[in-house]
Amino acid sequence: MSKMENNNCATCPAHNLANLTKLGVDMTNFDYVVALAGNPNTGKSTVFNNMTGLRQHTGNWPGKTVGRAEGGFIYADKRFKIVDLPGTYSLLSTSTDEEIARDFILFGQPDVTVIVVDATRLERNLNLVLQVLEITERAVVCLNLMDEAKRHKIQIDYRTLSKSLGVPVVPTSARQGDGIKELLNSIYQVSIGEYKCKPHRISNEIKNVSNAVEKLNRIISEKFPQLPNTRWIALRLLEGDQKIIDAVRSGEIGSLSRSDEMVVK
């Protein structure tokens, strides 16, 4: 029943509560959950501290290599829980950190995933951004280190970037605290569904394999018509990703569909 209600509620939280609990996130006192992803060395933790105002207790998660921190903030009367994921270059490789980040975004379905990006090395950072946009429908790009970019005479047309990526892009200089308010506002708007993301999907044909991908894609979308990005699942299956194989086998993958598509305007 609750699922039906979800489908008709544009402002309801999108996260998968059961999975979040499994991942160890306590959501009792929060309305929305925000995941913070980004390459290492992009000032991710500065952004995190700025958003939480460092007043919040930042408990280290028991991760094997690098801990994940949790914090919270209140914006426009909504209570947000923010989970700092380990800094990674990619979500496709096999390291523990990348698996933690990938599983959280995919199975926890945070209401918003904020991707912190180093403005001085946009191209390299876009690798992670594009990968995140493949697996989530709700994201905000935080274009950090704008002060550094300025020092290096780099100019970024963030409006065009936002249009290309289909998600809000907020320029910030977290070290100075610039742009954090705007970032919070964007997070809020995406959370309550006021801003509808149309995430960019990898457009290029993938060398030598497009036939196989298309074939598999067709079968998957037949079985799970509500899934927004079946091509990505096809790619993961073709790479032999055991987590995804298991999720397809158990049918869990079907429950990860976003409800936005169902909303009738």
Binding site: Y89, S90, S93, S95, T120, L122, R124, E239, G240, Q242
Partner: protein
């Protein structure tokens, strides 16, 4: 206490410890190896041998089994009776044939062996000449469950590092058509599909030439005594015996040919070049890290800085500075930009 006597006793104790604990040659590791020589190992090795015969359409005999497992003929015939008892083989007109069950069992051992080789290649720093021997031991130790977990962790790979297909859990294995390198005609390009890892001495010799599955080769000259070919800009001569252990697939026309490309390590500071390919020898984590950094075919890359001892070198890639060791940049093929 007399110091001289104490010193001698001390040295004695040290020598004894080294004798016992030395890796590979020590008493401890010898004992550990001995322990694995049990019946189960013999059964499994025999099944593997029988499967090999079947795969290559050769008839297996008692002799070939006793030779392959280095056991006496008497032991071999006992072993065969045992296998028959277990329902893993049947004997028909003097031929030894695998039953369905026996074949599946053999494939499971082969799957374990090849997965373990893949694991060693991708996730450890074990030398390639040791992969086969370590896998020979490991294949008898892992349970079915452990094997499946290992496969999942490795992303369910299809081929082992020698290019051999890894059978699936249900024992499926595809047949691929390949030739010996000695059969490739002069002037033709081929891609190394597989390098036979047995016997070990031959593999070590081929390996010493730096050949890997996935490498592109072209035969330059062929005679009864030697085969001369080039790969990645280098020339290499192999005796036909060795060359027949290198299996190749003829290249189709549309595959990009990477023969005369230089290595990234050959460029000098300040030079900017284009990446054309990553060598197959760049494996596992190493390879994924390179890709994460955005080092893919078509990437512009510029040597920026040499460390004060000359290695590693820092390269500018997509606006970031990344240090690569020479043994990494050796495995990245580049093309110099044409002067405009």
């Amino acid at each position: 206490m007399e110091p001289l006597i104490t010193l001698i006793v001390g040295i004695g104790v040290l020598v004894v410890i080294i004798l016992i604990a030395a890796p590979e040659k020590g008493l401890w590791s010898r004992w550990a190896k001995q322990k694995t020589q049990r019946e189960k190992v013999l059964v499994e090795d025999a099944l593997k041998h029988l499967y090999d015969c079947e795969y290559n359409n050769i008839d297996c005999t008692l002799n070939s089994i006793s030779g392959n497992l280095s056991i006496s003929g008497d032991q071999a015939s006992k072993l065969i009776s045992k296998l028959e008892e277990l329902g893993l083989i049947v004997r028909k007109n003097g031929k030894i044939i695998l039953t369905n069950e026996g074949r599946l069992y053999a494939l499971r051992i082969i799957r374990t062996h090849r997965l373990w080789e893949k694991y060693l290649a991708d996730n450890t720093s074990v030398n390639e000449t040791d992969w086969h021997n370590l896998a020979e031991l490991k294949e008898h130790e892992l349970s079915n469950d452990e094997v499946n977990k290992l496969a999942a962790r490795l992303g369910n790979p299809l081929q082992d590092p020698h290019g051999d297909p890894i059978p699936s859990e249900s024992g499926e294995i595809p047949k691929v058509k390949y030739f010996d390198l000695s059969q490739l005609s002069v002037g033709k390009f081929g891609r190394i599909y597989h390098i036979e890892d047995e016997p070990g001495e031959v593999f070590a010799q081929i390996n010493a030439q730096g050949l890997y599955p996935g490498m592109q080769v072209r035969v330059l000259e062929k005679s009864n005594t030697r085969i001369k070919f080039e790969y990645e800009g280098e020339e290499c001569v192999l005796a036909p015996v060795l060359a027949s252990n290198v299996h190749v697939i003829p290249l189709e026309d549309n595959e990009e040919i990477t023969k005369d490309f230089e290595n990234l390590s050959s460029i000098s500071v300040g030079e900017e070049v284009v990446v054309v390919a990553l060598s197959k020898a760049l494996r596992g984590q190493q390879r994924r890290r390179m890709l994460d950094f955005g080092i893919v075919p078509g990437t512009l890359i510029k040597a920026q800085l040499k460390s004060l001892s000359g290695d590693p070198t820092a390269y500018e890639v997509r606006g970031t500075t990344i240090a690569l060791r020479k043994n990494q940049s050796d495995k990245i093929y580049i093309k110099r930009k044409e002067k405009v």
